[in-house]
Structures are given as C-alpha cells and as structure tokens.
C-alpha cells in the first residue's frame, strides 16, 4: 500500500517536474472533497472527451482545402483554456504556439503544432490514466488518496 502511494506520489511529481502538469492540477485535487470524491476524475474525463473531439476537429480542419484558420484558432483557444484549467501545462503551451501559428496563417506550423499537441496530449493522457489507475488501486484498498489533505 505504501508502495502504491509512493508510486502515485512519484508519478505526480514526475509529471510536474517534466512540465506535463502544473499547479493547476493540484488545485483540482484540492477541489475534491467528500461532496465530490471523484471530481478530478470527472473533470479529466470530460477534458479527455473534449480534447479528443477538439483534436479531431483540428486535424479535420487542417486537412481541408481552404484551411479556416479562424476556426482552428477557436479550437486551439478552447483546447488551451481546458488544458490550462486542468493544469496540462505542456499542452497549454503548445496550444499557445498553435494559436500564434493560426494567427500567422502558417499551415506548416499548424500541422507541426498539431502533431506535437497530439504527442504531448497522449503522453499526458497516458500518464493521467496511469495516475487514476493507481488512485483506483489505492481506493480499492480503501485508503485515502495521499494528495488529499
């Protein structure tokens, strides 16, 4: 059990260290209390669903003949806002870069960004899924999650 908790802590700190997550994620964790015990999970799940949709929209929009940069910018903004809210720091940063490419109507830049975005997003997603799994494991041991105060 200690092992699991330590693993969870390690994973969290690694993610923060690598810049995948930032303190906003801890904010989310703080918001989790008895009245909403699965808040983080719910938010992140929503975030995943939203992001998947947005990423698809973006790649679809970028594949169009006449690329609608404004539309892509709106997606990127949306993605940026969501990522910032959940503390996905790297994804947020890429979104910022993405937006500037959109503004410059730089198709090549946008494509590269989207690729990068997918990459980072996948890393984050996998990590978070792992994190939730660990939390779930701990939960099954009926122990409190260490990050909660």
């Amino acid at each position: 059990m200690d092992h699991l908790q330590r693993k969870l802590r390690d994973l969290e700190s690694t993610m923060i260290q690598q810049g995948i997550l930032d303190d906003q994620f801890s904010q989310l964790q703080k918001l989790q209390d008895d009245s909403s015990p699965d808040f983080v999970y719910e938010v992140i799940t929503l975030f995943f669903a939203d992001s998947d949709k947005l990423l698809n929209n973006m790649s679809h929009a970028l594949g169009q003949k006449d690329v609608n940069f404004k539309q892509i910018d709106a997606y990127a903004h949306q993605q940026k806002g969501s990522s910032a809210s959940v503390g996905a720091a790297k994804v947020t940063n890429i979104c910022a870069a993405f937006r500037s490419f959109c503004e410059a109507k730089n198709l090549e830049g946008c494509r590269r960004c989207l690729q990068q975005l997918r990459q980072e997003y996948d890393i984050m997603k996998n990590n978070l899924l792992l994190l939730f799994k660990l939390q779930q494991d701990i939960k099954t041991f009926n122990r409190s999650i260490p990050t909660r105060e």
Binding site: D22, V43, D50, K80, S85, E149
Partner: protein, 1011 residues
C-alpha cells in the same frame, strides 16, 4: 592717363599736324589701354546727342593745380605734356633755324658774288652796269609754310642754283660791260626783292606758327573729350569719386546724386559733413589707408540723416607726393545696399537652411533614439510579461505548499520564498506599469466612480492585511461630488500604493486619506506643506478660495494638531475647514441644512472639479535631503531603509507618473519622525446629471441624501480593538431608514442615479429597530458635537450594529465566509440582498405584499445572503473547475455560455458580480461588458438591442430590474496579448483574473468585489 596718348602722339611726331584725327587710330586697337575711346568722328556725333551734366563734379582747382604740381602722377602727366610741347617747339625751331641757315648761306653767296661783281666793276672801270646780271631764282619752288614743313625738310637737299648769266655782247667791250652791269644790277634787284619776299615769308611763317593752335590747346581738347567720356559714363553710375587731402578734407568730389552744395563739401571732412553710424568708420578707414600707404577696399554701412541707411563699397587709394609722402587719398564709393541686402538675405537663407538641416538631423536622431527607447521599453514590457506568468506559477505553487503539512523550518523557508516571490512579482508589475506609462501605452479610462467608495475600499483593503496597531482613516469633504469621472483603477492604484507605503513606514498612530475639492490649481501656487489642518486652513483660506456659507466656529479657531480629531468631534465636512476661516455658521447647525448646502455645492459645480487627496501618516517621515529623489525610480531613502522595509522603489515613481498622466501633481511634505503627507491633485469630470439633488424626494425628505454615497468619514481601528469599521453617526442609520422609507415609493421612484434602490423589503421589525438605533445616534451626535464622546458613542453604536449583523450573518452563513475580514462586505451584502430578495423569489407580486412577516423576512434574508454570481464561460472544463471552486468557497453561481446569454440573464436577475470570459463565441466578454455598462448608464438596453439581443419577455419592462448599481465585472483572461488587461478596463471591466483560475485568485477577487 592722358600721358599714354601723349606718348603715342610723340611717337608719331611727323603727323602731328593731323593729330586730332589721327589719334584714335592706334588707340582703338590697343586692348591694354585703360582709356578706350572711339574715333572722334563718330564720337563727336554721339556726344552731341548726349547732354553731359557737368555740375556733379565739384573741384577745388587750386588744389588740382597743387596736385598736378606736387604729386608724382600729376607731375608726370604734366611732364608728358611739356615734353610733347617742347618737342614740337624744338622741332619748329630746328626747322626755322635750318631755313634761316639756308637763307643766310644764299645771302652770303649772293653778297659774295656781288662783291666779285663790284671787283669786276672796279676792274673794268665804272662803266660796268649791272645790266648783264641775270635774275637768279633761288628756292623758287620752295614754299615755306608750317604745314609743308616736313616736305621742306625732306627737300632740304635742294640747293640754290646759280644761273649762268648769258651776255650776248662782246666780251670786254663797253657795251658788254654796260650790259653786264645792267644785268647784274637787275640780278641784284631781283635778289634783293627775293630776299624781301623771303623775309616776308619768314615773318609770315613765324606768325603762322604763333597763330597756329598751341599743343596745350590740343591737349586740353583731348582732355576735354576724355572728360566728356568720363562724364558720360559716370553720369548714371552710382559712384562717388573724390579726393581728400592729408587732413581728409574733400578737395574734389564727383557725386552723381549730389545732395550737398559745393561749399558744404569742399574743404570738409566726412565727419564734418555727415553724422550717423558708418561715417566715423569710413573716416578711420581712410586714415588707415593713408597711414599704411596701401590701397584698400571696404564695405561700410552708413546710417545717416542725409541719405538714410545705405551700404557703400569704398575704395581708397593713397596719393603720394614726389618725395613719397602721403598727401591725401583718392576715394571711390559705390552704393551696394541692394546687393548687400540680397547677399544678407542669401546668407540668412543659407543659414536657415543649415539650421533646418541641423534640426532635421537632430530630429532624426531623436526619433531614432525614441524609437529605440520605445522598442526597449516594449521589450521590457514583453519580457516582464513573460516572466510574470511562470513566476506567478512559482509563487502560487509555494502558496499551495503552505497548505500542506510542514514543520516549522519548512514553513519559515516557504514564507521567505513566497514573500520574495511576491516582491519579484510586484517589481515586475511595477516595471510593467512604469514602462506602459512611459511608452505611452497606458490608456486612461474614464469611468464614473464614487470617491468615497474608492477611499473606503482602499482603506478597507489595507485594514484587512494590517499587521500593526494602526488606525486607518478616511475623510471626505462634503463638497466632493458623489460621483465623478476618472480612471478609477489608476486612482485606486495610486491610493493603494500611497496607503501601503504609509502603512509600511508607520509603526504607530494612524494613516489616513483626506479628500477635498480645491479650485483649479496653478500648480506652483499652493504647494506648501499641508500637513496640519490648521496650516491648511490658514494657507488655503488666505488664498481667497471658494466661499463657503458655513463653517464651525470651534473648529476653525482650534489649533488641534490632528485634523482628523477635529473633524471627528464636530462631524462637519472638512471642506469647511479647508476653505473657510470665517465662522459664519454655528456648530449647532442641523444635518439637514448642511446637506442642502452640499447639494448646492455639487449642483453648481463645474464640469471639471479638482480634488485634492492627502495621504498622511504618523510614520518615520522622510529626511529633507531624500525628498528630491523620492519619486525617482529605484530610489529609496537609504540603503538601510531598503533593507529594513523592502520594496521595489518603484511605487512612488509609478504614482507620480500616473498622477501626471492624468494631468495632476503629486507632492510630498514630511517631517522626520513625525510623518509624511503625500498630496495629489487631480482633475475629475463631474456630470451634473448624476447629482442626487435634482430630484426632491418628498417621501424621504430630510434623509434623502443620508446614504453612504455622502458618507464622509471612515475609520478602521486596529483589529484588536474589536471594531473594524466605524462611521460618523449621521449616515448609517439614515441610510437604513431611508431604505425603509423608500420602500413604498417603489413604483414611482425616478431617481435612478441616486442609487438608493429600495425596491426590496425590509421587515418592519428590522427597520424600526434600526431607526431607534439611528435616532439614538442622531441625538448623541447633535448633543455632543464638540465632545470626543461622540466618536465613541458612534463607535459603540456602529459596533453594536455590526455585531448584530455579524451575528446574524454568521448564523445564517454557517461560518463559511470569513466574517472577521469582511464584516462590512457581509453587512452590505446583507442589506442589498435583502432588497433584492423578493424580486427573485416572488417576482410579479404586488409590492405591498412584501411587507411580510418577520419569519418571511428572515427566510428571504437567508436565501439571499449569498451574493449572486454569474459566470460567463464557454469552456465546459473551465465551468466545471470554476464551479467546483465556488462551491468550495461557499458560493453558488449561475452559468451562461456566452455574452448574449449573459445579457439575457442580467435582464432577468440582478447580479453582484460577473465573472466574464473574454474570448467567447457569439459575443465576447468585452462587448458584453460594454453593453452592460451602457445599460447601467442609460437605464435601458437599447445598445444591446442594437447589437441584436432582444430582451426576454419577462424583463420587457425596464423597471423589472433597474440598474441598481454598477455590477462588478471581472474579466477572466488567458493572459495573451489579445486579451490585455488594458482592453478589459477600457471596456468597463473592473478587474481581471488571469487563467487558469485558482482557488486563491477567485477568493481574493470575490472578497475584493463583494464588499
């Protein structure tokens, strides 16, 4: 000059008799000649047509004679003339002599022959006659005339021929001798006759010579011709030619435009002739030339009565005597006034062009530098912005860390970390502000705001974080308009900065803000130390400022050190104190009349009002020598201070920049160890429309202004004393009673700007109890207006009231809100929500219905204790997170997804605070805010309708939710360039929270705006 001609003539001696006609032939071809004259034939004709005015030349002839006698040139000329003449004479004499010689030779011959003949006669007895003599013609073809002289000379080889006498008679006969003597006699006769003829001719010749024109005459003719030419040339030339003697007296002058008579000039010097500038100079110049003996030119500008301002180029040439002494000067002057003027104009133009060019380069340089500077500043701003984001991450992380379990050492380290982080953040913010102001990027926002509220909020904020035993006070003069227009954010920033500065350097005593209206300041004038109320009084009133109808006698004569104390006792507006020395009003004046005056004051106020704001403290003060550098960037009084008190040293610089940006002036006065006062005077626009005195409110008659909009005094005691907020007694209870009074007036109120919207309900019990309370206070205020007890009593009353409210608040809120920190907020909220409550819960009901029972009221109160918050956000995740945070903070909120929905929602309900995303689909946050502000100002949703938002049916009546007051709108920005804070403020937002929203940010924001 004539000498040259002479030379030619002399060289051509043989043709001298035709000199007049011959002369120009070679002269004309000679280019090097100084004096070129046409052939006389033509010349004669030409000159005939020209009339030569000879008058201009005025000469002293005697002097001319002298000159020709004594000067080298004159003498040489004369010598040439003489030589020429002499030569001619000599020639004539030579010729005559030759002739004479010839004649005498012939005569000798003749006599010789006569003698021979006589001898012969003697030899051949007396019978011999001259009959045999033949007439001998000598020189018969010689004709002596002057004209023929050269010919004669050429024929000088002619010898007189002796003709043989031929006698036919037989030699040595008597007849022969007779014949012979006869002939000889005849010959002799003829010879004698011839001799006589010759003599006659000689005589004639001599006479002719004498009669013939002398060379002098010829020469003078030539001279005259030359003179004529000179005159011809000179007649229109703007030149003056003159000769002056050793003493510089004019001996000769030629002036085409003579303005003086001969006698006025000749024999006089320049100085004697004219007066004026330049005369002396020219004389000196001539003298100089004379001394040096070298000809020279000079330009002299004359300014004389005689011919006005003229510039002459003068040429002066010394004249030497034969012995080499200078005996005078020749002088030539030419008027070049126009040329000089032109030249000067050209020079000036050239100079101007040069200056222009220099300026241009300078300007270019400056522009370049400015551009560079701007770029640097923008760079700095961008850099700072870039630094700020990650740094705020660091700080907020550290803050989160403090909430975890830590041991003491860790906590200490963390505290240091946070405070350093905060300092760096502050520094960056300051740099950003400063660079914004300096680069001109800082835009001022004109928004309506209430100075009283601003002061109160600033003090409240300071009080909330106060860690010292300090009293914070705010005192606003009654004549300060209720609502003014200005950049409230910047003013608040300045105030906050100054107050926090004051708090920082004050260890005991108080820190306060005084506001009063001043006349438009000529900034140099009344910038003295206004640290003390008494000083204030004397200085300002002595300036003869605005007259005030009333004042309080005890106060004005009092010499209290503390302004605030004075005011506390009397409860009178500070304005009286500041502006009026005369005590025309007794201290027992009623609140009512005072307010009337205030009304008049505000009503008659101009569109621009100057408000002076003093932020004073009783702190350590500033040494005099540090004052000049106080407002400079990164300047602190001393390194010691910097260590002890910290800070960036930018705060005051920013304040000054901001104040000056707004057209005001920030000054400081300070006494070391006693305290400092920072004073800034700023102009504000006042719209008389928002004056609450326009609508006489019969129902709330006396008390209609007794709202907290006119509340003039706040005090925040140190927390340990048990009270956070007190106010001078007059306003609080009245306000409440007004609310009560105002309630039946629900349908008819038109006084929107009054902001006393009381369409809610109050429980009768509640209201009455407050009224009692209020009357108590009124009584105590009026009865003991000079005593210090008033304050305490007021305090007690206020406290009691506070406590009551707080108790209820705490009870109802179940302790979720931090009641100790925002009691006031809670209380206000309480009152406001009370009034709004029924609207939400029982909209459409008759207003009378709202006079409900105590229990209903309590229920309503409970249900509306929480502030109404609206979140306008399109991002689901953000909504979820924010909602959760709100929940944790103990608030609930409504959520809409874009601006249009937000406006619909606002039309239906009233909100205390709106959290507004900036970047949204359909309608963004900025536009939405603009529309809301427009509604608040105009009271209608026309602007929104124009933007295409139809009012919802339930809110079609404008009065359904009238613009109660300014809704706090907080922008939620993603911290990108396109969503800058400036733009948020420019569109009417009150504050902004950068995304992602954190619990702490949200909490701070709500605390700040829900008071």
């Amino acid at each position: 000059m004539v000498c040259e001609m002479e030379r030619d003539c002399i060289e051509d001696m043989m043709e001298i008799e035709v000199l007049p006609s011959m002369w120009p032939e070679d002269v004309g071809t000679d280019v090097g000649k100084q004096f070129n004259i046409e052939k006389p034939g033509r010349d004669q004709d030409m000159l005939e047509e020209v009339t030569i005015l000879e008058e201009p030349a005025i000469a002293d002839f005697q002097r001319l004679m002298e000159l020709t006698n004594y000067t080298e040139k004159g003498s040489s000329q004369l010598a040439y003339l003489m030589k020429h003449w002499e030569y001619k004479q000599a020639n004539a004499v030579r010729l005559l002599r030759e002739e004479l010689d010839n004649l005498s030779k012939q005569r000798k011959e003749v006599e010789l022959r006569k003698l021979e003949i006589l001898k012969d006669n003697n030899r051949f007895q007396e019978e011999s006659y001259g009959g045999d003599k033949r007439p001998i013609s000598i020189l018969d073809d010689v004709y002596y005339t002057w004209q023929d002289l050269p010919v004669a000379i050429r024929k000088s080889d002619v010898v007189v021929q002796n003709k043989r006498i031929e006698i036919e008679a037989e030699y040595d006969t008597v007849v022969y001798w007779k014949h012979r003597s006869h002939d000889l006699e005849k010959q002799l006769e003829a010879s004698i006759r011839r001799e006589e003829i010759l003599k006659e001719k000689l005589q004639e010749s001599i006479e002719t010579i004498e009669r013939q024109s002398s060379p002098v005459e010829e020469l003078s003719q030539i001279l005259k011709r030359a003179d004529n030419f000179l005159h011809f040339i000179l007649q229109n030339a703007p030149v003056v030619i003159g000769h002056q003697d050793k003493e510089l007296r004019y001996r000769f002058i030629y002036n085409h435009f003579p303005s003086l008579q001969e006698e006025d000039i000749i024999g006089k010097t320049d100085v004697e002739i004219f007066t004026g500038s330049g005369v002396k100079e020219s004389q000196d110049f001539k003298r100089e030339v004379m001394e040096k003996g070298v000809a020279a030119k000079k330009e002299i500008t004359f300014e004389t009565e005689l011919f006005g301002a003229k510039t002459f180029l003068i040429y002066v040439e010394p004249v030497f005597s034969k012995t080499g002494e200078t005996i005078g000067v020749n002088y030539m002057g030419m008027e070049i006034t126009d040329q000089v003027r032109k030249r000067e104009r050209m020079a000036k133009l050239r100079e101007e062009i040069a200056v222009q060019k220099a300026k241009e380069t300078e300007l270019n340089k400056t522009i370049h530098i400015t551009e560079e500077t701007m770029r640097a500043k923008q760079m700095l701003a961008t850099m700072s912005h870039e630094i700020r984001s990650p740094l705020s991450g660091v700080v907020s992380m550290a803050e989160i860390l403090t909430t975890t379990k830590l041991d003491r050492e860790q906590r200490q380290l963390l505290d240091v970390m946070i405070s350093s982080g905060d300092l760096v953040l502050q520094l960056i913010n300051d740099i950003l502000d400063l660079s914004k102001v300096e680069s001109g990027a800082m835009k001022l926002e004109a928004t309506k705001f209430r100075p009283r509220e601003v002061v109160r909020h600033v003090l409240q904020t300071a009080a909330a974080s106060l860690q010292k035993m300090l009293t914070l006070e705010g005192d606003i003069a009654d004549d300060i308009p209720i609502e003014v227009t200005g950049d409230v954010l910047r003013i608040r920033q300045i105030l906050t900065n100054l107050v926090s500065n004051a708090v920082k350097f004050t260890h005991q005593g108080k820190v306060g803000i005084n506001l009063y209206v001043v006349p438009e300041p000529p900034f140099a004038k009344s910038e003295e130390c206004h640290q003390k109320a008494t000083e204030d009084q004397s200085t300002v009133s002595s300036n003869g400022l605005k007259e005030e109808k009333h004042t309080s006698s005890p106060r004005s004569t009092r010499c209290d050190q503390n302004l605030i104390d004075v005011k506390k006792h009397s409860g009178q507006p500070i304005q009286n104190q500041a502006f009026n020395n005369e005590c025309s009003r007794s201290s027992a004046n009623s609140e009512c009349s005072m307010n009337d005056d205030t009304e008049e004051q505000t009503h008659s106020s101009e569109t621009t009002v100057w408000i002076r704001c003093d932020v004073f403290d009783t702190g350590i003060g500033i040494p005099e020598k540090a004052i000049p550098t106080l407002f400079r960037r990164y300047m602190q009084v001393s390194a010691d201070h910097a260590r002890k008190y910290g800070g960036t040293g930018l705060g005051l610089a920013i304040c000054k920049q901001l104040v000056e940006l707004m057209g005001g002036r920030l000054t400081v006065t300070s006494t070391e160890h006693c305290g400092s006062t920072f004073t800034f005077i700023l102009p504000y626009k006042v719209s008389t429309a928002c004056d609450n005195s326009d609508d006489p409110d019969d129902l709330s008659d006396v008390d209609n202004n007794e709202d907290d909009t006119t509340e003039g005094f706040f005090q925040f005691q140190p927390r340990t004393l048990g009270s956070l907020f007190t106010s001078n007694g007059s306003t609080r209870p009245h306000r409440i009673s007004h609310k009560f009074n105002g309630f039946p007036d629900n349908n008819s109120y038109s006084n929107l700007s009054n902001n006393i919207i009381s369409n809610g309900t109050n429980s009768v019990e509640d209201a009455s109890s407050v009224i009692v309370n209020a009357s108590d206070m009124l009584e105590s205020t009026s009865s003991s207006s000079h005593s210090s007890e008033t304050k305490h009593e007021c305090l007690v009353n206020g406290n009691k009231q506070n406590h009551d409210n707080n108790k209820a608040h705490a009870m109802l809120e179940n302790g979720t809100a931090n009641s100790s920190q925002c009691k006031e907020a809670g209380r206000e909220m309480n009152l406001e929500t009370k009034s709004r409550g029924p609207q939400q819960t029982c909209q459409g009901q008759g207003k009378e219905d709202s006079t409900s029972s105590t229990s209903t009221s309590a229920e309503v109160t409970k249900s509306t204790l929480k502030p109404n918050i609206l979140l306008v956000e399109d991002n689901k995740i953000n909504i979820m997170v924010t909602k959760s945070m709100m929940k944790q903070l103990g608030y609930s909120m409504d959520v809409v997804n874009n601006g249009v929905e937000a406006i619909r929602e606002i039309q239906r309900h009233s909100y205390d605070i709106i959290l507004m995303d900036v970047y949204m689909p359909v309608m963004n946050g900025l536009q939405t805010t603009k529309l809301i502000r427009s509604y608040e100002e105009t009271g209608n949703w026309d602007a929104a309708r124009e933007a295409g938002i139809e009012q919802s049916l339930s809110a079609s009546d404008n009065r359904a939710v009238p613009p109660k007051k300014r809704i706090h709108i907080v922008a939620m920005t993603a911290n990108t360039m396109s969503e800058s804070a400036e733009e948020c403020f420019a569109n009417g937002m009150d504050a902004f929270v950068s995304k992602p929203v954190t619990l702490l940010k949200l909490k701070e924001c709500l605390e700040k705006h829900l008071r």
